[in-house]
């Protein structure tokens, strides 16, 4: 169980960039959790690889957000949470919005 949880997963963008992130981090996104979760019987969860129809530059930001979320989700009040907004380049904001909606990161906000 813990071995599995420590595995990495590979997210592949539409322009063939691969992003390797820890599985628990990937599971923060609802859509990825459905694809990669232990309950799902998709080939993605067997190979721990997802092909996503998202451009690399956008997917990179998605991964960055997931790591950011992993890091700051459970901090107490004393620690200041940096504003992720500053890290989003305006030129990809719209694409990122669509990608975020697709990955349903909102559903697992907690």
């Amino acid at each position: 169980m813990s071995e599995q949880a420590n595995k990495n997963v590979t997210l592949i963008s539409s322009d063939e960039f691969s992003f390797i992130i820890p599985k628990p981090v990937a599971l923060k996104a609802g859509m990825l959790a459905d694809m990669l979760g232990e309950d799902s019987a998709f080939s993605e969860s067997m190979s721990n690889t997802c092909n996503l129809d998202i451009r690399g530059v956008v997917l990179e930001k998605v991964c960055e957000y997931l790591l950011f979320k992993q890091r700051y989700e459970s901090v107490d009040n004393k620690e200041t949470v940096p504003d992720f907004q500053e890290r989003i380049p305006p030129e990809i904001a719209l694409e990122l919005l669509v990608a975020a909606d697709y990955l349903q990161s909102k559903l697992r906000a907690h």
Binding site: N77, F84, P90, A93, D101, K106
Partner: protein, 552 residues
Amino acid sequence: MSRRNNNNNVRGPTSALTSFLREQGITGPTGDPYRRQQREIQQNPPPQPTTSRSPIPHHRSDSEDLDDDPIQPSLKRQKSNPQIEQDDPYTAPSKSQSSSAGGVGSKTSCIECQSKVIITKYTPTGPDGIGVLCPKCTSAHGIDPFKQAQSKPKPKKPAQKEKRIAPKVESSKPLSSLADYSIKVIIANIDYVENLGEIGGDATDTIAKVLSKNRSLNYKTVQLFLGSHQDTLSLYDAANLNPECLKSIATLCPSISRLKIAFAGQLNNDVIKDWCLRFRNLQHLDVHGAYLVKSDGWIEFLNTIGSSLQSLRISECPHFDQSSVEAVGRNCKKLNVLSISQIKMENQGVDHLNGLKNLKNLEIVQVEGNVTSEAIVNLLSNVGQCLEELNLSKNSDLDNGLLTNGIRLYCPNLRILNLNSCDLIDNSGFEDLFKQWNNIGLKQLDISLNHVINDKCLETILNKIGPTIELLNLNKLKDISKDFLLKIPSMIPKIREVDISWCRQTDDSVMKEFVETCPELIKITCFGCLLVTKDCTRKPGTQIMGCPALTM
């Protein structure tokens, strides 16, 4: 005066306000030493005993006063002058005390070493709470005078408060989602963004949907979609757009031909009259939830724009009433698509629509008021010939007459029929229609929630439409037997989507029959079919939706 103060002094601490103020550490400027003593002895002594307690009473000298006292006299005067003040008990003892002995600024001697001490706010009391300590003895006892002076009333309370607030703040501030962050960035840069016209219809529509889903469509984000060359505008959640903003849509996109606006809670008469003047090319209009547009607004709008409209969809607009429907009938002769749902209308209203000969799609759904079969039959006799889609669902006053005298006779070209939740239509009505209907073949049929339909009736229906049907909704036809359910798949070879939710007898063998027999089936919905197990047959390309055993 002093007597009154003494009395007050006795009474004061018993009142709720007084004790509350004391707890909060609110006190007269000289109160500290006195109050500490007072709390320790847990009673309310008049100034006298207090004075007697301090070892050697001294008279105050003016020069010693200078440090702490300069404000005191005026304060005391202010407070004692009204004489009704609740603070009296506090000002009074401090006054009597500082003037006699033991108060701030007075001289006394240390309880330990007998050296002279000038009492200040920070002078600590002796070990037993009696007398005072000089600075030397204070440090010898390891007491931090500054800490002690402030500590007793204050630090406890704020600390507790902070603790109580902390979890609340934490729970009310979860991490924002990535979508929220993106929207913030978009809003921050909205002035630099050209509108999305060039991106392409699909992407624009997706972004509009996502923004609406996040309830972030406001006067800023809506700018993404506005532009003079825009042809289509879909606002899926216009609840946050105020009338001025809605007006600006018509100003900025005057040549728009397709407008969809949902949850248009702030769309009012003013705006819609403004739209009449500005939209030059509006052909397709879909409005949902425009509660504020009154009947006269709709009529004026339809009189001006109606003649060019090709499709009109109105839902949840309570003021779109019979007279508005009449305006539709009078003006909108080009209409191909008319959909009115959740509005108020009677039979006469339906009659106004008789002139719309070009209608291909007619939806009259969930009308409040008594719309009966006769009126609809009359309407169909006029417009039925071209109709391809007919949706009369959720009208509880329609009966078998609609099928026998209306649809059967006048609607030969119908491809899509929706009659869900029409409670008065029963088996004989459906049998009449489907036995003798000269129809070219239905593609979609929705007869869900007509509880009474039985095997024989459904067999008649499927015999007629089976070869052509692609989408079939049998939701809640609870009386269909398992034997017949097993027969259905072979009767509907072209089926693509089927809904057999709440057909009680559906089990694994029925599912297997559907999945294996229907080659083009892509979706089968089976909510509430408790006999279907996890092991039911599945195949790639066919989606099983709602199966209780699979979702648990």
